[in-house]
């Protein structure tokens, strides 16, 4: 009986397969779960990975990084290089040519005007842009003709692929967003919640912080794709729930970022309904240190801004002591197992750019204590240090996640051994990474002394990522709390070195400068305390085919190729 059923199934599969291959939407429905709910579908207004990745199904960049970190043309006909004449000999400009015949989902053609507009949108002086560092050094973007766009840089740009590439640089439709420039950007709810795109899917219903319904884009450039007619993109819950929904109950087909303790994940995979897939990229779990004063006694609009330096953490010795007290090996063992490595740098990969310094790895409680003594922090009767009537007490916030709360508890204990009192706080991930300027609990506002999360960069060149820490790029009220310099780090020497990186073409030399920049932020100034180089772990159902885990770009980069295994 079983054999007969199997045979019949096989016959049916063979009979249906040719049709299925030829047809858009033939594979029905796919369910995707992101345990951090999506709040907005405009990546220029949100630094949250979940928002960027959800948007990558709808709007697309000119070029994407594939799973090997190689830039491949997406909306562009080819990747411009010096050899094919796309990049100027003096490296000061890059000319992209769009693939002809690409239509927006509303049926109008994609033109170079849209690309120019995207640049204007993100660099508008009156508005904040979450991806401003992608356009670092860009002087002008001009349309040469309907399909050609020329990006000119202030100086030679050895890696001119920052603008308009990767999940953080998709093209917006001018017709839809042209009234949304500058300060008006966050008010264009319809556009931000349902951008018109060139990607394989279009939004049919968007409920912020809950669920997105999508349907196949009727004007998608490949008539046979996407294979799925509709998508339910569910957000919210927690990593364990998302993992269970795919690996154990099979309600969902794809779950993103399963940040779970190793034995928990192994237990789920044992149920046999799906696979956990992982790959190392540039994702680093880190503690960000606030260099500005987050005290609630300051007036709103001045908290966590550069007007008030942090009364405790401005001292390098305190920051160094905090780092020395942490045992990164143990953190990896508790939280990530095989899917993590201890990290001392925020650029763990590719090898040319990864700092090899490992001096943060050894835990040194005695050394940290000595350093704090030297800095003038004396232990009080309850074991907590103090200086000038101020207790060495820190508020340590992160998103709600079992692994992160375990990390908090561990680090709190180590810090208590060096006389630092820690107050822990956890915030719902959807809010923490939501980027809502009205909420006091976002990681950009940073109303805490230290905070922990993970961050990575698109592609294989860290220049844009390191540019995030340029002075002036910090989130502040004037930018609608958008910005990537979360620590409010400001060092002219760093900025000068960044400019040098931007001018340098030699690959080896770029590696040296990038390593030095990353070291300035980490093992030298201890502004960022890297903890774990995290492998990305996601899961897909056994019946979902075509998934290629990509750590260099959006995980949903090839969602158009996904299909149902019958």
């Amino acid at each position: 009986m079983k054999l007969k059923t199997a045979l019949m199934g096989a016959v049916a599969a063979v009979a249906l397969a040719p049709q299925a291959i030829a047809e858009r939407g033939a594979d029905g429905h796919v369910n995707i779960i992101y345990w951090q709910a999506v709040s907005i579908l405009n990546p220029y207004l949100s630094g949250g990975t979940k928002d960027i990745e959800a948007a990558s199904m709808i709007i697309e960049p000119l070029g994407r990084y594939d799973n090997n970190g190689v830039l491949v043309p997406w909306l562009a006909a080819e990747v411009p290089t010096v050899e094919n004449g796309g990049v100027a000999q003096d490296l000061t400009s890059i000319t992209w040519r769009l693939k002809p015949g690409i239509l927006w989902s509303d049926g109008t053609p994609l033109t170079s005007a849209d690309v120019v507009f995207t640049w204007e949108y993100c660099t508008h002086p009156e508005g904040g842009c979450a991806q401003a560092s992608k356009f670092d050094g860009v002087v002008s973007v001009e349309a040469l003709d309907e399909l050609t766009v020329k990006v000119t840089f202030a100086g030679p740009m050895p890696v001119p692929y920052g603008p308009f590439t990767g999940g953080q640089g998709p093209i917006l439709q001018k017709a839809q967003f042209q009234t949304c420039l500058g300060a008006a950007a966050p008010t264009c709810t319809d556009a931000n919640f349902g951008p018109v795109g060139t990607g394989p899917f279009v939004v049919t219903d968007f409920r912020p912080n809950d669920v997105i319904q999508m349907a196949a884009n009727p004007n998608y450039r490949d008539p046979a794709k996407p294979r799925f007619a509709t998508v339910t993109f569910k957000g919210g819950g927690d990593a364990a729930g998302a993992g269970r929904a795919v690996l154990e109950t099979g309600e969902f087909d794809y779950a993103w970022n399963l940040q779970l303790a190793p034995p928990v994940l192994a237990g789920m995979v044992a149920a046999g309904r799906g696979k956990a897939i992982s790959a190392f990229g540039t994702l680093v779990e880190r503690i960000e240190i606030n260099l500005t004063d987050p005290s609630p006694s300051l007036p709103e609009g001045e908290r966590s801004t550069r007007k008030h330096p942090h009364p405790i953490l401005s001292d390098l010795r305190v920051r160094k002591a905090l780092s020395m007290a942490i045992d990164r090996e143990t953190l990896v063992e508790i939280g990530y197992g095989q899917a993590g490595r201890p990290a001392c740098t925020i650029v763990p990969s590719p090898p040319n750019f990864a700092s090899t310094r490992t001096d943060c790895l050894a835990q040194d409680i005695a050394g940290a204590n000595a350093l704090l003594d030297e800095a003038g922090w004396v232990r009080g009767p309850d074991g907590v240090r103090g200086k000038d009537g101020r207790r060495l007490s820190l508020l340590y916030q992160t998103s709600t996640n079992a692994v992160r709360q375990d990390f908090q508890a561990l680090i709190k204990q180590w810090w208590s051994e060096i006389g630092v009192e820690t107050e822990l706080k956890n915030i719902n991930a959807g809010v923490f990474f939501g980027g809502d300027p009205g909420s006091p609990d976002t990681f950009q506002k940073f109303y805490a002394d230290v905070e922990m999360y993970a961050n990575n960069f698109d592609g294989t060149d860290p220049q844009a990522y390191l540019s995030a820490y340029r002075c002036g790029n910090e989130p502040r009220p004037e930018t609608g709390w958008q910005g990537e310099n979360i620590n409010r780090y400001c060092d002219p020497a760093y900025d000068a070195l960044l400019d040098e990186l931007a001018r340098t073409a030699d690959f080896e030399e770029r590696g040296r400068i990038a390593r030095q920049l990353a070291e300035m932020l980490t093992v030298e100034s201890y502004t960022i305390l890297p903890l774990v180089d995290r492998g990305r772990v996601s899961a897909h159902a056994n019946t979902l085919g075509g998934v290629v885990l990509n750590t260099w770009d959006s995980e949903l980069w090839n969602v158009a190729d996904w299909y149902r295994i019958k």
């Binding site: 709360q405 375990d406 561990l410 822990l424 956890n426």
Partner: protein, 307 residues
Amino acid sequence: MTDVLTPPAPEAAPKPPRSPWRDVWDQFRSHRGALAGLVIFTLFLLAAAVGPYIWRVDPTFITIRARNLGPSWTYPLGTDQLGRDMLARMIAGGRISIAVGLTAMALSLVLGTLVGMLAGFFRRLDGPLMRLTDLFLSLPLLPLLLVMVMLFRESLSQRFGPETGIFILIVFAIGITSWMQTARIVRGDVLALKEREFVLAARSIGTPPGRIITRHLLPNVMSPIMVSATLGIANAIITESALSFLGLGFPPDFPTWGRLLFDAVDYIRDYPSRVIWPGVAISLVVLSANYIGDGLRDALDPRIRGR
């Protein structure tokens, strides 16, 4: 049969009269569930009150090498995923959960009695106060609590420290959202009582309202108040656990029973005992408080007493 039923011999005049509380206790004793509940509740109270002095293990101390252990002599209830002692965590959790339950109950009782008494006794206040009660009854509790936690957590923890601050916030939040039942019961009883002859008599000899309330009304509404008090404890413990379970409430390193449950959910399959212990503790305390309330209601009602 207890000796309550035996009518006192009329000739035994020198024997002092039985105190009414003695009758109550005798009746309460006859309610087996209530008695069991009282024993269990007292045990939990004792464990929470003196437990930390007997079991001197820091509930937040992490022993990395002793993770996920089963029960043993060193760790009677095992350890959690960071090697923290579960027994110590259970005791610490009980301390907080029960403290929140008792304090929130006291607050809601005071509020409820005050509002109910005023509404029942002063006709002019009846309308506004009862509409206020209706208003509070119609508020959805959990969303309101979430908003309160978000709005006031920072300023309170700034002023009183993270633990006391959030304790005050949660007790206050639960207290001011659970007084309505008490207020309605008290008002109903007062409305009936104030027309009774002894109150009329007191009024006719010119007793001021304050005196009437404290001398004549309050003692007579004690029994419904005490019953709603026990139910209030149960309610407050459940609300606190729910808040902690949602990851709000106390800071994450603070073991409360709800937080222990929340932390253990990820490990429910591999280490079910970690979910069972706090779950059982919450259920037992809530159930025993309810039984005590049930027994008290019977014992305090003279019409049921002796049946």
